[in-house]
Amino acid sequence: MRNHAGTPTLDPRTHRVIVHGMVSSALSFSIADLMRFPSVERMHFLECSGNSGRGWRSLGEGVQYSHGLLSCALWTGVPLRTVLDEAGVRPGAGWVIAEGADGALYDRSIPLAKALDDALLVYGQNGEMLRPEQGYPVRLLLPGFEGSANVKWLRRLKVVGAPAYSREETAQYTQPGVDGRVELFNFVMDAKSVITFPSPGDGLREPGFYEIRGFAWSGRGRITGVEVSTNGGATWAAATLDELRGTKCLTRFTFPLRWDGTPVELQSRATDEAGAVQPTLAALVAARGPSLRYHVNAIARWRIAADGTVSNLDA
């Protein structure tokens, strides 16, 4: 979880969210108003678009550095569609500018289709009110979208025809592709997985049985399968998925390993219900160019040495 301009202190008794722009009636809601709407609770992951990007890897070798800008929580709130319907979206609208009440008045443009699909205004997380650094008293939650689009401390929703082209969606959170061109509004976090045990800093003590454990997730829906390779990607076998397989939600997987004490190269590869298969780093570089700062969903490669220590082959 990151902030762009600190954590504001907002009074839930006076804080208001206004909905205006291309709506039939501009409306102003208190937090109590928002909490009276019909509510939903959903489990969704949140991943920073910079997770596994090259900038973070230099900080340390553990999986917390390479894959730690990721979480999954139970969110409570009101569908954004319910709130927009209350104001009445006018024809011709295509985007919603969401703006926070933080020090930078952080704003992002959200496609109206997403706002009317599964976007939420959330006030609860894991059975309690949002914590201040998570956007208290209300934030946007866009399941499967890059973390930075999920505007915290929400104060304003402006329904518009075209995006705002704010700094954080143009100069930031974008990157040049192979041809040097920069794609704007590339939101969805693609299919990805990582083995959390064993992993760099959490190795094996002696030969014998171990359970490989990890997580898989996709911003395009449910995880339908995870495969594990213990020989550097030469062959793959299906991992066992735990029962909780929510849409746009972390899915836990396990795989048995009988380690004979010789070096092993471990990889995991996720497939989602859209049919997307997690790519190798080489494939990602070929498709997108070498500046892999954002949306890096490549297969991670862990090497178990003969002494049981684990290293990241791409660190």
Partner: protein, 153 residues
Amino acid sequence: MATLAFVAIVVLIAAGCAHTANGAAHTYGLGRPANAAEIAARDIDVSPDGAGLPGGRGDAVAGARIFAATCRRCHGEGVRLDPQRWPYATTLFDYVRRAMPPDRTERLRPDELYAVTAYELAINGVIDQRDVLDRQSLPRVTMPGLKSFFKSP
């Protein structure tokens, strides 16, 4: 009879669609109308076409003085931007207005915002030191990187 019932259903469906697309549903009656003053106090975003820009004007010479007084304590002599990474000059104005200075010890007035924007664009080689920015001229500044940005349909 069957025809009449069919017509009635069609009318109801049409009315329902129009209601969702055009009219405020007010299904739950929650919230209150947002008044013009509270919208105006928050409605600060500036579009690439200049919508949302205030009156006022400024140039890089004035901007240098304001930068020294307000921005230098964090940014030194100026922020080295990569103009290739900013598709629209209006975004720079918008960002300075919404986020700078972060401690809110000072609020820049529109003339000062235009001047600081002009200073930054000038020291980064986008405009000339003598160019004056206002609500007409700022949207006409073409950033060198604009052509490299694209948006999927």
